[in-house]
């Protein structure tokens, strides 16, 4: 999956996360930025979840920034997926039950 434009998903409400994705040059890899109210307890877990989601959707090159207000794992995944599909300009034929699960 190729990220072609800037996109956002999520909010800054408590228990949500705001995920911003930007295109990155081919071969530049993943730039990850996290600001979280629970970074001390869940920073590593959040990063793992985001990296797993990027891998599942086969995203190679992206700048991804997350402002997390204590979102649970399921919320976080959904917001990352939302931002990525918007960033890839794919709004139809989404792979429900496939890459999105």
């Amino acid at each position: 999956m190729k990220i072609t434009k800037n996109a956002v998903a999520g909010t800054l409400e408590s228990s949500d996360a705001m995920v911003t994705v930007e295109p990155n040059a081919e071969g530049a890899g993943i730039e990850f930025n996290l600001d979280s109210v629970v970074i001390n307890q869940f920073g590593n877990s959040i990063r793992r979840t985001v990296m797993d989601t990027l891998k599942r959707l086969d995203v190679q090159d992206v700048k991804i920034s997350i402002v997390d207000k204590g979102a649970l794992d399921c919320t976080l995944k959904a917001r990352v997926e939302g931002a990525l599909f918007r960033g890839a300009e794919q709004t139809e034929n989404l792979p429900w039950g496939g890459a999105i699960r």
């Binding site: 408590s14 228990s15 109210v37 629970v38 970074i39 001390n40 307890q41 869940f42 920073g43 590593n44 877990s45 990063r47 793992r48 207000k69 204590g70 979102a71 649970l72 794992d73």
Partner: protein, 521 residues
Amino acid sequence: MLNKVGREIPEEILKQTGKEVFQGNYYKDNTEFKKQGPITKVVMNHDTSKMVSSIHEALVKCGAHDGMTLGFHHHFRDGDLVVNMVMQEVHNMGIKDVTICASSLGKAHDALVPMIEDGTITNIQSSGVRGKIGEAISQGKLKGLAIMRSHGGRIRAIQTGETVIDISFIGAPTCDDYGNCKGVGGKSDCGVLSYSFVDGNHANKVVAVTDCLVPFPNYPADINMTKVDYVCVVDQIGVPEKIATGAAKPTTDVRKLMMADYCTQVVVNTPYFKDGFAYQTGVGGASIASAASLGKIMKERGIKMGFAVGGMSKGMCDLLDEGLVGKLLDTQDFDTSAVESVKRPNHHRISAGAYANPFNKGAFVNKLDYVVLAALEVDVDFNCNVVVGSDGVITGAQGGHPDAAQGAKCTIVISPLVQGRIPAICSKVTTVTTPGESVDIVVTDYGVAVNPARQDLLDALKEAKCVPLRTIEELRDIAYSITGEPEPVQFGDRVVGIIEGRDGTVMDVVRQVKPFTFAED
């Protein structure tokens, strides 16, 4: 050295403070000590005036000096102006190395942070700290140690002479020219002055600070003229709407209402619920809702509460008005209804010592049947944390939590299982404030856990089939299944504060926080 709640207390901290590690709730029971008395400058001449024109003059007359200890109370809560007013003058005078011994410090005192940074304030003793001071301490900006002690513990520390207060500044809503102080009748009423009684009795110098000077004698006085050296009139000692807020609206949060219902069911189905029972509760949404539903059941069954003690709010005052409580024994007023209610018969102002001091000949908390408390975290050993946030930063206060929890026959802690992504029931609390041996029942929105040490209470609740019972480990597992298992906070080595047990032993230490770094993978 490992203490009774399994916390490693560094030897250098024990050496530095001369303290022992916590060795169980009753380690100091039946011990004896001689109380420390204040240096008293006598007033015999009828021409002597106690009036001073400014805080500056008060400080000078009291012999303010580097390294002194100052006492303050927190009855004005977030509306307090006295601490900042006095400390600004101390700062202006260039005095350094001051120890603040306050009953509590909060968001009203963010202005002290620069004074911590420049060495004006080097030690803090308080029930806890909220706001920017907590962050500053956790970042290691305080030169000395922060000592977090319970309301009862503060009285003990002062009476044993562990802490000697050089000058105490007592913000008084009304005061006369000879120092009789009252919590009501002025323009910044806080109701009671309970936390200051000990300052009156033990501080070497006592300054009453008021914004409402009244004719002599301001009687009956909370703090008596016989204990006051100077009286200082200032423009304003507090911001009324921040001292006593309007009564909290009854909660409509279904999660809190469910916990309130569980809590009420626990109370009415345990053996201490009978005519004349003694009760303390907090001011959280669930606690207030529980007091109201408890009142309904008391009416139905013809059961009255003998007394309620501690901080007061509208809910408890309503029960008094309805004739459902014999006496309110008040140490702090949270809303305007409670401040008003102070004037009624059977609403008594008591000292923090009578409330909770572990080192007197018996305090009210010892006579409690039930106390309902909140907590930031509870672990599977029933240890509670109410001072340090799950991120490791000091963010709360012990208050009377450890005092009431130890005293009561049945201690109930209410907490939602999960707050945001933070599991409130966990394997190991960040910092122990109240030891698990004091905590009997934990109420969450996912069920109720009983401390295995209290088989009697477990049997009573099982028989009543009134609440979903779970083990504390089950509650933790449910919490972790929702949030994931939290990693321990990354602390630095330096100890920035200690959590003191009621009896002066070390319950836990608080370390400097470290910026988060991702694990390598």
